[in-house]
C-alpha cells in the first residue's frame, strides 16, 4: 500500500482536527500522563531499594522516622498510581470522544461530494477504508494513531533516563540490551508488516463473513432456506468462511507467540547476566544490596520502556495507513463551488425545458457506453414517459438529468444553460424526484415531507391531505410530529409500501419544483394502488415538466410522449397511440403485458404454457 501522507503529516492533521473538537486542554492531560508515567515507575523501581537501605542501617533512635519515611513513600506511590490511572482514563476518553466527533466532517464530505465518484467501485472502496479509520474501535484507526504519540514520548523519556543507569552498571549489558531490542523490533516489524499487508485481505474476509452472517439471518431469505432445505449447505459455507477469516488471526497470534517466547528467552539471558554481575560486585564490596535492587529494577524497567517504544512506533506505522485512507477519501470527489450563472433565471412556477445533446455515458470500469448519442428535448410542461426493458439505461438517463452523473460526452441543458454550470444545490431546487427505493429517515413526518429541520406545518398538512395520507397521520398519537421508523425511536411508526409512496408524493408536492421525475416509484405496488398513485401524480403535475420511468406500460397512458429505450439508445418516440400503430418494440412490449387481461389468448409471438 503506497503511503501518500507521512506519519508526521498525518499526526499534524489529526491533531488539528482534535483541537477543533476538544480545544487544546487535552494536551495538558497528555503532558501530565507523560510526566507521571515516567516518574511513577521510577518511584516504584526505587522503593524496594529505599526500604532495604533504611533497614540495613543503624536503627538506634530512628525506628519511628524509618517507619514514617517508608509509609510516606508508599502512600505517595499509591496516590500517584491512582492519579495516573485516572489521568490515563481521562486521556482515553478525550481521544475517544473526539473520534466520535471526527465522523462529522466525513459525513459532510459524503453528502457534498460528487455522487458519481461516491457510487463508483473505487469510491466505495475508499469510503470503506475511511470508515475503518473511525469505526474500528479504540485499538485501531485515528484514535489509536494519535494516542500513540504521547505514549511514544513517555517511553522515549523513560528510555533515555534509564539508559543512564544501565550504562553505569555495564556497557556490555547496555549493548546486549540494545541488540536484543533490535532483534525484538525486527520481530515486531515482521508482525506489523504482515498486518499492514494483509489488512485489505483481512477486511475483505471480514466483510464476506459479515455479509454471509447477515444474509443467513434475513427473514426474507427464510422461505428459500426452508423450502430448498439449504441449511446444511449454508452452514458448511459459513464454517468455511469463518475458517478463512480466522486464518489471519492464526498467523498474527502465532507471531505474537514467537515474540513472547523470544522476549522470555532474551530476558532470561539478560537477568542471569545482570544478577550474576551485580552479585559479584556486591561480593567485591563495590555495591550494597540496596543498590543491587535498584539496578535490577532499572534493568527490568529499561526493558519495558524499550519494548513499549518499539511496540507503539510499530503501531503508529500500521495506523498511519488507515489515516492515509481517511485523508485520501476526504480529498476525493470534491466538487468545485460554482457561482450561479447569470443567464439562469427562474420565474416562480415556470416550467423548464430539458435538452440532451448527443449525450453518451460510460461507467468508470465499463467497456461499452451504457447510453449512446442521446438527443432528446423535453419541452416545458411536457409529460414524457421513458420505457424499456431492464438494463436499457432508463435509470442511468434519469441520473444524468438529475445531475448525479456527468455525461462522458455531450451536454444537458436546462433552459439553455449547461447543468454543469449550475450549482448543485440550486439545480435541485428546480427538480423533485421520487425513486423506486424510497427513503424515509428517522425523523418526524413533517421533516420527512418538508426535508427541513423547521418545516411550515400548515404546508405539510396541506401536502399530506393532497397526497391522501392525512387521515393516517392524524390518527397517529403525535400527528405530523410522530417519528417515522423505529431505528432511533422505539415508539416510531412504520409505514406500509403504499403509505410510503403517498409520503413521497407529499414530499414532491411540498417541494413544488417545476420539474418532476418519477423513477419507477410504484414498482412494488399492486395495479390498483399504482393506478391511484399515478392519478394523484397526474392531478398534482399540472403544468410541470414531468419525466416518468417505468417498465409497466399502463403508467404511460397519461403522458404526452413516450420514448422507448433499447441498448442505451432511444429507438422509438411518439404518443402511446402512434407507437402502438407503428408495431415496433413498444407495441410488442405493450401486447405482452396486456395479453393476460384480454379474452383472446391467440396473439402473434405468444408462447403457449
Amino acid at each position: 500500500m503506497k503511503t501518500l501522507y507521512s506519519i508526521l503529516s498525518n499526526y499534524r492533521w489529526g491533531i488539528q482536527q482534535y483541537d477543533t473538537f476538544l480545544g487544546r486542554r487535552y494536551h495538558l492531560t497528555d503532558l501530565m500522563c507523560i510526566l507521571v508515567g515516567v516518574m511513577l515507575p521510577f518511584g516504584e523501581m526505587a522503593f524496594p531499594s529505599f526500604v532495604i537501605r533504611l533497614l540495613e542501617q543503624d536503627l538506634r533512635n530512628k525506628t519511628f522516622s524509618i517507619i514514617f519515611s517508608i509509609l510516606l513513600y508508599a502512600l505517595l506511590l499509591k496516590l500517584a498510581g491512582v492519579y495516573y490511572q485516572c489521568l490515563n482514563n481521562w486521556q482515553q476518553m478525550n481521544y475517544f470522544m473526539a473520534r466520535i466527533d471526527i465522523a462529522t466532517p466525513l459525513y459532510r464530505h459524503m453528502m457534498h461530494m460528487d455522487y458519481e465518484k461516491l457510487e463508483s467501485k473505487r469510491g466505495q472502496a475508499k469510503l470503506q477504508a475511511a470508515m475503518e479509520c473511525i469505526y474500528s474501535g479504540n485499538d485501531y484507526g485515528i484514535e489509536c494513531f494519535l494516542r500513540s504519540f504521547p505514549i511514544i514520548t513517555m517511553n522515549l523519556l523513560g528510555f533515555l533516563i534509564y539508559s543512564f543507569f544501565v550504562i553505569r552498571i555495564s556497557l556490555w549489558i547496555f549493548l546486549y540490551m540494545l541488540a536484543s531490542t533490535v532483534l525484538l523490533a525486527l520481530l515486531g516489524t515482521r508482525s506489523s508488516n504482515y498486518q499492514t499487508k494483509s489488512l485489505p485481505e483481512a477486511n475483505a474476509r471480514y466483510l464476506r463473513r459479515k455479509k454471509a452472517m447477515d444474509e443467513t439471518f434475513e427473514q426474507t431469505a427464510r422461505n428459500d432456506m426452508i423450502l430448498y432445505q439449504a441449511k446444511d449447505w449454508l452452514i458448511d459455507n459459513l464454517h468455511h468462511i469463518c475458517r478463512e477469516f480466522l486464518r489471519f488471526y492464526e498467523k498474527t497470534f502465532g507471531m505474537q507467540r514467537t515474540f513472547e517466547f523470544t522476549t522470555a528467552l532474551l530476558t532470561f539471558f539478560r537477568d542471569a547476566a545482570v544478577y550474576l554481575l551485580l552479585i559479584h560486585q556486591v561480593a567485591e564490596g563495590q555495591l550494597t544490596v540496596s543498590q543491587l535492587l535498584f539496578f535490577t529494577g532499572a534493568i527490568a524497567g529499561y526493558s519495558v520502556w524499550v519494548q513499549q517504544l518499539t511496540q507503539y512506533l510499530q503501531q503508529a506505522a500500521i495506523q498511519n495507513h488507515m489515516m492515509t485512507n481517511l485523508r485520501s477519501f476526504l480529498d476525493y470527489g470534491r466538487l468545485e463551488k460554482l457561482p450561479e450563472p447569470q443567464s439562469f433565471t427562474r420565474q416562480k412556477g415556470e416550467p423548464h425545458e430539458i435538452r440532451l445533446e448527443d449525450v453518451c455515458y460510460r461507467y468508470e470500469d465499463g467497456a461499452d457506453d451504457v447510453l449512446s448519442h442521446i438527443n432528446l428535448t423535453i419541452h416545458p410542461g411536457e409529460k414524457l414517459a421513458l420505457v424499456g426493458a431492464n438494463g436499457a439505461g432508463k435509470s442511468t438517463l434519469v441520473k444524468l438529468i438529475l445531475g448525479l452523473y456527468e455525461p462522458t460526452q455531450g451536454h444537458i441543458y436546462l433552459d439553455g444553460v449547461d447543468i454543469r454550470q449550475i450549482p448543485r444545490e440550486r439545480y435541485y431546487e428546480e427538480i423533485a424526484a421520487v425513486f423506486q427505493e424510497s427513503r424515509i429517515f428517522s425523523c418526524s413526518v413533517a421533516q420527512n415531507v418538508s426535508c427541513q429541520k423547521n418545516p411550515d406545518r400548515v404546508a405539510v398538512e396541506d401536502c399530506l391531505k393532497k397526497a391522501g395520507l392525512s387521515e393516517k397521520i392524524n390518527a397517529l398519537p403525535q400527528g405530523i410530529d410522530t417519528m417515522l421508523t423505529r431505528q432511533l425511536s422505539p415508539d416510531g411508526t412504520e409505514l406500509s409500501g403504499g403509505e410510503t409512496q403517498k409520503l413521497m408524493l407529499a414530499r414532491a408536492i411540498y417541494q413544488n419544483s417545476p420539474v418532476l421525475v418519477l423513477d419507477e416509484p410504484t414498482a412494488a405496488l399492486d395495479p390498483i394502488a399504482e393506478s391511484q398513485m399515478y392519478e394523484a401524480y397526474q392531478g398534482f403535475c399540472g403544468n410541470k415538466t414531468g419525466i416518468f420511468i417505468s417498465h409497466r406500460l399502463s403508467s404511460t397512458r397519461f403522458c404526452d410522449r413516450v420514448c422507448f429505450l433499447k441498448d442505451g439508445s432511444i429507438t422509438e418516440s411518439g404518443t402511446h397511440a402512434s407507437l402502438l400503430a407503428a408495431g415496433g418494440d413498444y407495441a410488442q412490449m405493450f401486447e405482452i403485458q396486456a395479453r393476460y387481461y384480454k379474452e383472446n389468448k391467440h396473439l402473434k409471438g405468444a408462447a403457449a404454457l
Binding site: 526500604v51 532495604i52 533497614l55 543503624d58 538506634r60 517507619i67 509509609l71 508508599a74 499509591k78 491512582v82 485516572c86 482514563n89 481521562w90 482515553q92 475517544f96 470522544m97 462529522t104 459525513y107 459524503m110 455522487y115 461516491l118 469505526y135 443467513t216 439471518f217 427473514q219 427464510r222 422461505n223 423450502l227 441449511k231 452452514i235 459459513l238 464454517h239 469463518c242 477469516f245 480466522l246 488471526y249 505474537q256 513472547e260 522470555a264 532470561f268 542471569a272 544478577y275 552479585i279 556486591v282 438529475l402 448525479l404 444545490e425 435541485y428 431546487e429 425513486f435 427513503r439 429517515f441 428517522s442 425523523c443 421533516q447 429541520k453 409500501g497 403504499g498 399492486d526 394502488a529
Partner: protein, 446 residues
C-alpha cells in the same frame, strides 16, 4: 444472607449453563483457561518468594547460594513465561473460534426453528440484544475469561492466605540477625507487642474488614452504574450504526439527500443524535474513574497497613529484611485478589444476564407439528394440497390474517391468488409450503 447466597448460586448456575455452550463449541477452551489460570497465579509468587530468598542470602553474605537461587529464579520465570506464551496462543485462537462458531450455531438454530417462532418480534429482539451484548462484552469466550480470572484470583488468594498466616505467626525476636537491635531500648517492648501474632492478625483483620465493607458499598454503586451503561451501550451503538450504515453510507439515502436537498436536515439531526449519546459515553469514563478511585482507596488503605505491619515485624526481628517484598507482596495480593473476586462476581452477573437470552434461544425447539406418516408418492411427483378450515394469526397480532379458508388444489392445477397488497398473500404461500402452522385446522398435503 440466605437470599444473597441463593442469588449467587442462581448466577453461577446460569453461568455454567453458558459454559456448557462454550464446551459444545470447543471442548479444549475451558481446560486451557484453567491451565492458564494456574500458571498465571503461580508466576508472581516465583519472583516474590525467590527474590526474598536471594536478598536474605546477600545480606548474610552467602553469595554463592544467592547466585544459585538467582539462576533458579530466572529459569523458573523463563519456563513459566514460555508455557504462558503457548497457552496464550491457544486461548487467543480458541476465543476467536468460539465466537465464530457461536455465530454459526445461532444461525443454524434459526434455520431449524419454525417460521412463526422466528417472526415473533419479542424473540428476535431478545436475540438481537443478546448478540449485541455478547459482542460488546467481548464475546462468549469473555465469560470463560472471567471465570478464568475468578479461578486465578482464588488460587492467588489461597497462596496469599498461607503466606499471610505464616507472616502473622512469626514471633518477635525469632531471628538473631540484626545485632544492633539488641541495643535499642524501650521501642523493643513496644515493637514486640505490636508484632505479636494476635495483634498482627487483629490489625490485619480490621483493615481487611474495613476494606471489604468499602469495596462492597462502592461495588454496589458502581455496578448499578455499569449495568445502566451496559443496557444503553448497544442503543448508543445502534444510533451510530443507523447514521453510518443506513443513512450516510447508503447510496439510495445519499441520492435522496442530494436531490431533496436534505443536507441541512440530516446534518442537524445527526448532530442532535450525537449530542444525546455523548453524555452516555462520558458517563462510561466517569464510571471507570470512580472505579479506580474506589479501588485505590480500598487497596491503598490496606497496603499502608500491610507495609506498617511488615516493617514492625522486621524491626522486631520476627522476619528477615529480605522478606519485606515477600510478605508485602503476599498481603497486598491477598487483598487485591479478594477485591478482584468481588468485581469479577459483578461482571459475571452482568454478562450472564445479557447473554442468557441467547442460551434460551439455543434451547428452543421447533414448534411446528410434524407427523411421521409416510406420504404416498405418485410416479409423476405431483401432489394434492387441501386447506380445511384454515386460519392464521401472527404472533402478538390481534387480528387473524387468514380466516376459515377452504381450498383444494388438485394435481397439475395452476392456482392464481391475485390480491391487493397486505392481503395475506405471503401467509397463503407459507401455509401451503408448510413453513408455518395454521392457527386452526388444517392444511393437508397428500
Amino acid at each position: 444472607m440466605k437470599q444473597r447466597l441463593s442469588h449467587l448460586c442462581s448466577i453461577h448456575r446460569n453461568g455454567f449453563r453458558l459454559l456448557k455452550v462454550v464446551r459444545q463449541l470447543d471442548r479444549n477452551l475451558i481446560p486451557l483457561f484453567i491451565l492458564q489460570a494456574v500458571f498465571g497465579a503461580v508466576l508472581p509468587y516465583i519472583s516474590i518468594l525467590l527474590s526474598a530468598k536471594v536478598i536474605d542470602l546477600l545480606l548474610t553474605g552467602s553469595y554463592r547460594r544467592a547466585a544459585y537461587y538467582t539462576l533458579v529464579m530466572v529459569s523458573a520465570s523463563l519456563l513459566t513465561a514460555a508455557i504462558l506464551a503457548i497457552l496464550n496462543y491457544y486461548t487467543n485462537i480458541g476465543r476467536r473460534m468460539c465466537q465464530e462458531r457461536l455465530d454459526v450455531l445461532i444461525r443454524e438454530k434459526a434455520m431449524e426453528l419454525d417460521y412463526t417462532t422466528m417472526e415473533d418480534p419479542e424473540i428476535l429482539k431478545a436475540l438481537q440484544n443478546a448478540e449485541a451484548a455478547t459482542r460488546f462484552s467481548g464475546g462468549l469466550a469473555y465469560l470463560v475469561r472471567i471465570y478464568h480470572e475468578l479461578l486465578q484470583y482464588t488460587l492467588s488468594l489461597i497462596t496469599a492466605i498461607v503466606l499471610t498466616a505464616s507472616f502473622c505467626l512469626a514471633l518477635p525476636g525469632r531471628l538473631t540477625l540484626q545485632k544492633h537491635l539488641e541495643e535499642t531500648s524501650g521501642g523493643t517492648d513496644l515493637l514486640s507487642v505490636l508484632s505479636h501474632p494476635a495483634i498482627t492478625a487483629g490489625i490485619l483483620l480490621l483493615a481487611w474488614t474495613i476494606g471489604l465493607f468499602l469495596t462492597k458499598k462502592q461495588s454496589a454503586v458502581i455496578r448499578a452504574m455499569e449495568d445502566n451503561i451496559a443496557e444503553k451501550h448497544y442503543q448508543a451503538e445502534a444510533v451510530f450504526s443507523y447514521w453510518a450504515t443506513d443513512v450516510i453510507s447508503n447510496l439510495e439515502s445519499e441520492k435522496t439527500i442530494r436531490v431533496n436537498h436534505m443536507t441541512n436536515l440530516v446534518d442537524t439531526n445527526h448532530a442532535d443524535s450525537y449530542a444525546q449519546i455523548k453524555p452516555f459515553y462520558r458517563s462510561m469514563g466517569t464510571s471507570d474513574t470512580l472505579k479506580f478511585l474506589s479501588e485505590g482507596l480500598e487497596t491503598g488503605l490496606f497496603s499502608i497497613v500491610a507495609y506498617l505491619l511488615v516493617i514492625l515485624k522486621i524491626l522486631a526481628n520476627a522476619i528477615s529484611i529480605g522478606s519485606f517484598s515477600k510478605y508485602t507482596g503476599a498481603l497486598i495480593q491477598f487483598n487485591t485478589s479478594f477485591n478482584k473476586l468481588i468485581w469479577a462476581e459483578n461482571m459475571i452477573q452482568r454478562i450472564v444476564k445479557n447473554m442468557l437470552p441467547m442460551a434460551d434461544f439455543l434451547d428452543r425447539t421447533n414448534q411446528m407439528e410434524t407427523g411421521s406418516l409416510h406420504v404416498e408418492k405418485r410416479n409423476d411427483h405431483y401432489m394434492e394440497i387441501e386447506f380445511h378450515d384454515v386460519g392464521f394469526r401472527y404472533p402478538g397480532a390481534e387480528e387473524f390474517s387468514l380466516r376459515h379458508v377452504n381450498l383444494k388444489l388438485t394435481p397439475k392445477q395452476k392456482l392464481a391468488i391475485p390480491t391487493r397488497q397486505r392481503r395475506s398473500r405471503p401467509v397463503w404461500s407459507r401455509q401451503a409450503s408448510g413453513n408455518s402452522s395454521p392457527g386452526f385446522p388444517r392444511a393437508w398435503k397428500q
